[in-house]
Symmetry: C3
Subunit: 347 residues, 3 copies
């Protein structure tokens, strides 16, 4: 059924899901089991039958029509999800985006966060302007999303019924795993992965690991440290226990950090500069952009001092603090590999 | 109705709430939705009608009488809470304190922890002697507070009913947000904020943040590190990811740490001395009381070494470990600001 | 009733409990309230009546027969647990091990993890080969263990019923306290202690503490840092906030770390070498095996440099990084104690 003209090929993304609203009827959050990016034209045409509203409540019949179109486009997973949503008998939230513009509603914010965690968009690829303004601060509880202003009455009501209302978080962002568990991951403590995190296939996030929204691990990775907003780590890189990647939202610098492939940031270490591939920072050492670093050439000789920011993005670097004299040093990570350009420049 | 004589003006604090007891009838914990400090005389007079017992079980009628008095004293929030408690039809726990003495009961301990988290008392302002002795070690579960000795039977019972009993914590202190969510805060992982924490308006506690009881952030603050028991951080101070404030309960020193306003403790850094305003510790550097610190004057010259404890409480300090020679250094945080007294003393 | 011949004295361990299975009937996990190691011959004889199957489903009557045998062997706790299991009316999982061989089933893996957390086996004493292969990756939720592939349908189903499915973790290992809460412990954040951890009597694990499976604290201990797989810390040792013990599973070295008695690893510090008794690492200092360490003799003189690995396991060491020159130094922890052998060798 893909023989229809691509009449709606400008559709950037859409999703259908179950919303939670506060007592005033305002949208708090929405669960979208199967968001889609650049949907198939056949699906886009079915969506067009919902009318021009980019954000609307749809009913079970409308969801089943979309399910039928999804099935005709060979998207069985979407069809199954839409039928399951229809079966709930609840009002469903439909949201679509014609293009990737700044966020102007809560539903749009949730759609984009879902796209990231469903691996339909890598970190730093979406326009997330306006996200903080359009995400409400919510009490995430054992009874779902609750407006904080309604919390005391809910606690008393729960206790009166012999229940316990557990408040897990007061935040604009929920935990990712309550919305999506991507294929091939382990996440030891789900409270530390925000919806909007990108957790690549083959990635294990241990208890001390953390991944913010719009940040992530390409996979496979071992994440035992903190991946700040905007930060990406490459394949086979190991972020050690308590290791820090400096963010740009508070207290950090202005340089967006990324770490390449096959790197190791040692336990309790950290970086304030981007790193290329095959880099190591020894346990306990924090490299900031302004750290003076002594370059050590391949014969073990000192080759001059640079600010760490001058090494940003280079490959094959091993950073240590010399235990003899406290000097921060950078060596090539493997003797067999040619010194990188900065090191050569100082030979 | 405030025309009555202040006959009970010695009443320090009181609260009414819902208790949990173990199988033996011992009090495990209590939820007080609206604790009050130094209640209005009209309210104190109504409390006096409950009789001389400072700690007692009251019924719905008694709660409604207090609600009426609260309303007459223009304390609508308290009135609403008391009416809601009365509506539960459950036995209610009343506790009052004539003055701020050492803690002699579990109810008193919970009242004081509530006062702190309701921002009715700043950290280090209450007499908390005896608190550990009067807080039972409790299993905090998805079914509420359970005596650990009763846990195995409860787990089997839950599983037999097709349910799951989740044990979140085995501790003397519960999580704050199950009892109170102060205005204007975000708390990404509620399991890391104990009841008794003081979380000021405008404060965000990220996933790696932690605040113990009798400790807190004046607000607004960004808390991504650990605020130990007794520690307070001032307005606009940023505690970086994994940053540590040395406590006095175990392994730390005897000096109670506080951090002033507009400070930044870098990620994975830490301090074992109090800091004044506008201080910075670079990422990854831990200053202990006995760290020798080279003072750098405003012309960049070395001005002598002091133990960090001699700098305790000073303003405008920037601490780094020199990447060239491993020396811990303290510079004035802004060149435009006059050197502080210790630095001058070494000029 | 211990007068029967020890006909089954080769029985290494056994347990009876409640299993969870996925939609395909595969075992996901099992709760064993009272596992036993080297059971009494009377009990072993009763077990023999179940037949030769080392792993089987038993019914209430069979459980009550075992309960009777347990009571006759004066094991009231086991008898009570078995009767409670029988009372559930559910199919029960029986698993036994003739000897401590490599793990060949999920049930065996859960039995061994229970043995560790019930303190029936110290870390590194059991054969855990095959454990990763025989533990399924599971979604640990507010509705119990769920196969991740079944999660989306369960989330929709829960929301349709007005409930919330909270996903706490996606991991091969569950949280210990949902299975066993050993006597005399406090565990502030249960999500950071895996089943299979050994938490000794008198141990407090604060919010930043972490204990992996097959690792632990002999007790009493204060644990505010991370105890990696295979690591054991001795009595009265304090692991400071965020402190790291280097593991061998990823990114660490090959030396299994242990820490003796009466040690203090300062906040944000860490060790990549085993330590003996009465050792201290100052806050913020990470000792790796290859760190060059200047030995300081009891008169304060420099006595030569060794690699930290040469100090592995020694007692009475105090490690600091000299704030004057960045040199990592090791002093005897107390002046009254004789220098250890390595230090003497350099005098």
């Amino acid at each position: 059924m893909n023989n229809t003209a691509p009449s709606s090929d400008s559709l950037f993304a859409f999703a259908v899901g179950l919303p939670t609203r506060n007592n005033a009827g305002e949208l708090l959050e929405a669960y979208f089991p199967a968001p889609r990016r650049t949907p198939d034209p056949g699906l886009a045409n079915a969506i067009a039958t919902l009318g021009p509203e980019a954000e609307q409540t749809i009913d079970a019949d409308q969801a089943r029509l979309l399910a039928k179109a999804a099935r005709e486009c060979d998207d069985a997973a979407l069809a199954t999800a839409l039928d399951a949503l229809a079966d709930t008998g609840q009002p469903l939230l439909f949201v679509s985006l014609a293009s990737d513009e700044a966020i102007t509603s809560t539903a749009q914010a949730y759609l984009k966060l879902h796209l990231l965690s469903h691996r339909l968009a890598p970190p730093n690829s979406l326009n997330l302007d306006g996200i903080f303004a359009h995400l409400k601060n919510i009490a995430w509880t054992s009874e779902g999303a609750i407006d904080p202003s309604e919390l005391p009455e809910r606690i008393i009501k729960a206790r009166a019924a012999g229940n316990t209302l557990v408040v897990r978080s007061i935040d604009k962002f929920p935990c990712m795993t309550d919305y999506v568990v991507p294929q091939g991951v382990r996440i030891a403590d789900a409270s530390r992965i925000r919806l909007g995190a990108y957790v690549g296939d083959g990635t294990t996030v241990m208890h001390e690991g953390f991944i913010n929204f719009n940040a992530g691990a390409v996979g496979p990775n071992m994440v035992e440290g903190r991946i700040s907003q905007g930060v990406i780590i490459g394949a086979n890189t190991d972020l050690g226990g308590g290791a820090s990647t400096m963010g740009t939202l508070s207290g950090g610098g202005s340089m967006i950090i990324s770490i390449g492939e096959n790197c190791l940031i040692g336990a309790n270490g950290g970086t304030g500069i981007p790193l290329g591939d095959r880099c190591t920072i020894e346990a306990g050492l924090y490299i900031t952009a302004s750290t003076p670093v002594m370059l050590i050439d391949d014969e073990g000789n000192e080759a001059g001092v640079v600010k760490a920011r001058q090494l940003a993005g280079d490959d094959d670097m091993l950073f240590i603090r010399n235990g003899r004299n406290g000097q921060v040093e950078c060596r090539t990570n493997r003797s067999a590999i040619a010194l990188n350009s900065v090191l050569h420049a100082h030979n």
